[in-house]
């Protein structure tokens, strides 16, 4: 297992041009017929159906949970989504609404989305979400401290929250849009993985620049290198800005070619999204009926 913590000041440098070119090549693959159908169903099964808004109500969360269980009843045999992702105050309601469906409840925590609070508040935030029954915790890293070069602070914070989580799986949100460069994304990924993250996640979805394919590629490569070094698998969750089925398929192609089949399930890969589900459902119905679909006939979350 993990024998030594590396020096994070010397994490590998990222070739920006190379990464962007490689990420662009994944979008040139053409998936047709059965492969496309299976890809779409797999992507659907990997979604963390998310609502993270100030205006969220019990009713909204209940409705979202119903949607998670009944994605589109007109299409029998569909998988469910992987999880529902909400604020800590909504975890109890979500847990109740999902019942025994097997769909997990993920809760954001640690002063999401900015992470600008004290360690104590973050711990209590996490404990509250867990006490309400959250199966997974999505934490944010302290980007300010990271930019100041206080990598130990960031590392310790993640390790502390991981300790609080216990059995619950911990997703660490890097908020790559605020990190600025691929080098920093790689560094933050390494810190998170060595500190005990179960997932590394791109974004909160709260700033305009969210998940992109190159950023996800950098993080997938970090996961691969970590796996070679330690033998430990880390899961990946791109979030924000993935709203089209076609793009989701591109991500799956990338996942398969970088990490391989071992990661091609919802234990090791998730999409953080809300409108993606409907687009995938519309594509699936298109495949089945041969007719392009309209959003009018699919439930808004």
């Amino acid at each position: 297992m993990i024998t030594a913590i590396p020096d994070f000041t010397i994490t590998p440098r990222i070739d920006q041009v190379g990464v962007e070119e490689r990420a662009a090549r994944f979008t040139k693959r053409s998936l047709k017929e059965d492969t496309k159908l299976n890809g779409l169903k797999l992507a659907l099964n990997m979604i963390d159906l998310t609502t993270l808004e100030g205006k969220d109500t019990d009713g909204k969360v209940k409705q979202l949970c119903y949607k998670a269980r009944h994605l589109h009843d007109a299409y029998p045999g569909l998988p469910t989504v992987a999880a529902v992702c909400v604020y800590p105050s909504m975890v109890g309601m979500a847990k109740k609404a999902l019942g025994d469906s097997g769909i997990k409840v993920a809760s954001v925590a640690t002063a999401f989305p900015s992470g600008q609070s004290t360690r104590d508040v973050k711990i209590r935030d996490t404990k509250y979400a867990l006490a309400q029954g959250a199966d997974e915790i999505d934490m944010v890293i302290s980007r300010g401290k990271f930019h100041q070069g206080e990598y130990n602070f960031v590392f310790d914070e993640i390790a502390t929250i991981k300790e609080v989580c216990g059995d619950a799986r911990l997703k660490v949100i890097l908020e790559t849009g605020e990190l600025g460069t691929y080098d920093k994304v790689r560094k933050a990924s390494d810190i998170a993985m060595y500190a005990g993250a179960d997932f590394i996640k791109t974004s909160t979805g709260k700033i305009p620049s969210a998940a992109t394919m190159p950023v996800t590629l950098v993080m997938l490569e970090a996961i691969r290198d970590f796996y070679y070094k330690t033998g430990k698998k880390i899961a990946m969750k791109p979030a924000g800005g993935i709203s089209k089925a076609k793009l989701a398929l591109h991500y799956l192609v990338m996942l398969n070619e970088v990490l391989g089949e071992g990661w091609m399930n919802n234990e090791w890969f998730r999409f953080g999204a809300s409108s993606l589900a409907n687009d995938i459902l519309m594509q699936l119905m298109k495949q089945r009926t041969g007719v392009y679909q309209s959003g009018d006939y699919f439930a808004n979350d």
Binding site: V291, S294, D296
Partner: protein, 330 residues
């Protein structure tokens, strides 16, 4: 350039070796010079109009438009199912914004389209003549097209008053019916006309707050793309009108069975195709409007009823108290 230069040089040397006369040498040089300076005219690439952009068809296919004399007019995009899909999704995207604009603003924009068309009249006349019209017929068609835009521009904020109503009901309710645009409309423009048919169908659709995808005449497609350039420079938001070129027989199934289309306007008399349109429209109860023998080159072929073809009537029951002696007296 260097290639030409070296060719010229070689030839000069060869002529010297073969001892040709000075005169021949000069003639050759002149020819080479002519090749280098004579100008090739730049032919216009006719592309399609989707979401306020001018892309080429995603299929990469083209067809050649020829006039009755067999003269090659242009290479046109032979659009595919996926172009239809893209156009419909951008029409859907534009619908919210366009339908919620004030009627007066829509009127201003239609007027602006007419203004821009007036400014490019000569180009349309030339294109119509290329496609077989006489000069006078072409001028008449363009003038009529401009006038028709002005006509519908005027109707934008008036048809509601003509077609809406306050209805008598026997309870304490204020009951009224008002018009709302149906949504996304696909329009198959008449094959026989290049400009006036397209405009006569488009104007009432967008005047009523709908957005549309239009398939231009396959045999006379030039004006449609040039008209898209007019639209693009006249304050019309991208996606409100999308114009595709290609084979009606190929695109018609996708125009009529797409679930995100709310109405279809079809202008061919082919009974088989009309039947297919009606059957496909039943999938999501699209409204079907068929004009199979209408003459668009005519003052009488414009009417506010063409706007109401693409309007839905919404009736509202609004509870009222009996105030004073007033009561529902029906």
């Amino acid at each position: 350039m260097p290639e030409f230069a070296s060719v010229g040089l070689k030839r000069t040397k060869r002529t010297k070796r073969t001892k040709r006369t000075k005169r021949t040498k000069r003639t050759k040089r002149t020819i080479i010079l002519n090749i280098m300076t004579s100008r090739l005219s730049v032919l216009k690439t006719y592309k399609i109009y989707i979401g306020g952009q001018f892309p080429r068809t995603e299929s990469g296919r083209y067809y050649t438009a020829v006039n009755a004399k067999g003269v090659h007019l242009a290479n046109m995009c032979l659009c595919s199912r996926k172009d239809v899909r893209d156009a419909i999704s951008s029409a859907r995207g534009a619908f919210g914004g366009w339908s919620s604009r004030s009627a007066f603003n829509r009127s201003q924009i239609l007027y602006r389209i007419a203004e821009m068309l007036e400014g490019r009249k000569a180009q349309f006349v030339e294109e119509l003549m290329l496609q077989g019209s006489s000069k006078s017929a072409a001028e008449q068609e363009v003038n009529l097209a401009i006038d028709r835009l002005i006509y519908y521009s005027g109707w934008c904020d008036k048809y509601q008053q003509i077609f809406s109503s306050v209805n008598p009901v026997a309870s304490s309710h204020f009951n009224f019916s008002a018009l709302e645009p149906v949504g996304v409309v696909t329009v198959v423009a008449p094959q026989s006309s290049s400009l006036i048919g397209l405009i006569s169908l488009m104007a009432p659709v967008i005047a009523g707050g709908n957005t549309c995808v239009i398939i231009a005449s396959e045999t006379k497609p030039l004006c449609s793309v040039t008209f898209a350039e007019v639209l693009n420079s006249s304050d019309l938001p991208g996606g409100v009108v999308n114009i595709l070129t290609g084979k009606v027989s190929e695109l018609l199934p996708h125009l009529s069975n797409h679930m995100d289309v709310n109405a279809i306007c079809f202008c061919e008399s082919d009974a088989q195709q009309q039947k297919m349109v009606r059957e496909n429209a039943a999938l999501n109860v699209k409204r079907v409007i068929i004009h199979d023998d209408k003459k668009w080159n005519d003052d009488k072929s414009q009417s506010p009823y063409l706007i109401s073809d693409f309007q839905e009537v919404k009736t509202t029951w609004h509870p009222i108290e009996n105030i004073g002696g007033a009561k529902a007296g029906y």
